[in-house]
């Protein structure tokens, strides 16, 4: 009986414990801590693939979560759309600005494009905390590297450092990154580093939940050797298309252009973006009524 009490405590406290807390919060438990009945239930649920270390907990807890309709303990995730595109002379990075905690939008104007060095930036997606930590570490290492080298770091080095951290901690991290920048040896370069820690150099890269809707679009719309304006227009169009279809992406579109002359940040508010198929202008929206100067509330 004493042992059972301990196991119950571990499962209760597991939500907050270190690197594996996120598994507990999703309703998973190490199978060594499952009761006999739960173990049997797990066996019948298994679709033929071995669950490994983590099994599913009782249904009871999950039902409570759905009643509340909002899990405030869910990790901050950037369901996101991030894009990086090379053009003739540099790169353009673009992202949306929505950070969500479950269903709640924690930050509707976040900046997902973070600086690593003067000439290299990274687009972050996935867990907000994980991606921030990874970029902070890499910024620190790159800073030291730049001092030692006596000249700006190359984009390839920045991407490799990110890849090493992503790959070596793949069990604990959940973040997909796109590194983009300009250096004097290779010019503008984009490197995609998705979840497992692969490093792949690409002429353009897309990531985040919203990117699923952009694969076909880029197959058709991307071409080699665009100008700076063409590339930026393409990025803004793509992000706004993804925002239209992906619930986890939204807010404004931010872009960063990096070339031999330096870095330019741009900002496109949500209402300046083009409307797509079946999207409508807001009509008789409560916001208009509250902001309208006219004394009559309903003006049809």
């Amino acid at each position: 009986m004493h042992v059972r009490k301990i196991i119950r405590e571990i499962r209760k406290v597991g939500r907050y414990l270190g690197n594996y807390g996120k598994f507990y919060r999703e309703g998973k438990t190490p199978i060594v801590l499952l009761t006999k009945e739960e173990n049997l239930r797990n066996k019948s649920v298994r679709s033929g693939k071995d669950l490994g270390f983590w099994g599913r907990q009782e249904q009871r807890q999950i039902r409570t979560k759905m009643d509340l309709n909002m899990d405030l303990n869910a990790p901050h995730s950037m369901g996101t759309t991030i894009i990086g595109v090379t053009y003739n002379g540099g790169v353009v990075l673009g992202a949306d600005s929505r950070t969500s905690t479950g269903m709640y939008v924690a930050n509707r104007a976040s900046d997902k494009i973070t600086q690593l060095t003067d000439n290299v930036y990274v687009c972050r997606s996935g867990s907000a905390a994980d991606s921030q930590l990874v970029s902070d570490y890499v910024r620190y290492f790159l800073h030291q590297h730049t001092i030692q080298l006596g000249q700006p770091a190359t984009v390839k080095v920045a991407a490799n450092l990110i890849r090493l951290i992503s790959y070596n901690n793949k069990n604990m991290l959940e973040t997909g990154l796109i590194v983009g920048g300009w250096d004097k040896y290779e010019g503008g370069k984009i490197y995609g580093i998705p979840l497992g820690g692969t490093l792949i150099e690409q002429p353009f890269a897309i990531g985040g939940s919203g990117s699923s809707y952009l694969y076909g679009f880029f197959d058709q719309a991307w071409k080699e050797g665009m100008t700076k304006d063409e590339a930026e227009q393409l990025v803004v169009k793509a992000v706004s298309l993804a925002i239209a279809r992906d619930g986890a992406s939204g807010g404004v579109v931010r872009t960063v252009v990096i070339n031999s002359e330096g870095v330019t940040r741009n900002f496109y508010p949500g209402d300046t973006l083009q409307l797509w198929h079946e999207e409508l202008e807001p009509q008789n929206s409560l916001l208009d009524i509250l902001n309208s100067p006219s004394p009559e509330p309903m003006n049809i």
Partner: protein, 249 residues
């Protein structure tokens, strides 16, 4: 140029009253006792050559290599105590592979030279370590072009167009200064280095020597490798005939 330390030269952690560390200077003398090592930077690469004094007629030609590859793009020629040199080369190789795995690109030659110099300097800081008794000529070809560095036992490292260490370094330096390095290709450089080494070799004091040469240039696809055998033979022949011409005068 010999000065007696009289008591201030027993440990590398003791300064003399006139601000010198004698142990380091004695270590440099060990380098001066070894065969000449030359390195030159031509317009398309680096050429290094070593005058390998043969201790015994029974040694196999080609053994006891004095030039080592540190990474695909760089190599080191060692003068002085051979065992100390082996240690430095091992350290340089380890630094180069470590840099490659962390940063994903071949180590820039300047960075490699800095690290080797720091390591050599490290051994001049503690009383329980002795300084390295060898000097190193480090030549490499990275994305900033070909570069040549010399690391001395004191831990100093400088970048050069042409450098020589070892017995005949004074004579060799004079010869190198006569060359027009900015116009020379590595093919021509190999011949010139061979001529210089044959010239500065002292027939009276040391009997036989073997010439060992390496290069890293556009022709070798920016990889550090031994000079091809036919070119080496050509260089040796040119050097021997140049010597005979001189002797004939």
């Amino acid at each position: 140029m010999s000065s007696i330390g009289t008591g201030y030269d027993l440990s590398v952690t003791t300064f003399s009253p006139d601000g010198r560390v004698f142990q380091i200077e004695y270590a440099a003398k060990a380098v001066d006792n070894s065969g000449t090592v030359i390195g030159i930077k031509c317009k398309d690469g680096i050429v290094m050559g070593v005058e390998k004094l043969i201790a015994s007629k029974m040694m196999l030609p080609g053994s006891n290599r004095r030039i080592h590859s540190v990474h695909r793009h760089s190599g080191m020629a060692v003068a002085g105590l051979a065992a100390d040199g082996r240690q430095i080369v091992a350290r340089a190789k380890s630094e180069a592979t470590n840099y490659q795995s962390v940063y994903g690109e071949p180590i820039p030659v300047k960075e490699l030279a800095d690290r080797v110099a720091s390591y050599v300097h490290l051994c001049t800081l503690y009383w329980w370590l002795r300084p390295f008794g060898c000097g190193v000529i480090l030549g490499g070809y990275d994305r900033d072009g070909p570069q040549l560095y010399v690391v001395e036992p004191s831990g100093i490292s400088y970048r050069y167009f042409g450098a020589a260490i070892g017995k005949g370094k004074q004579a060799a330096k004079t010869e190198i200064e006569k060359l027009n390095l900015s116009e020379m290709t590595c093919r021509e450089g190999v011949i010139e280095v061979a001529k210089i080494i044959y010239k500065v070799h002292d027939e009276a004091k040391d009997k036989a020597f073997e010439l060992e040469m390496s290069w890293v240039c556009d022709e070798s696809k920016q990889q550090h490798q031994k000079v091809p055998d036919n070119l080496l033979e050509e260089a040796k022949d040119a050097a021997r005939s140049a010597l005979e011409e001189m002797d004939a005068d």
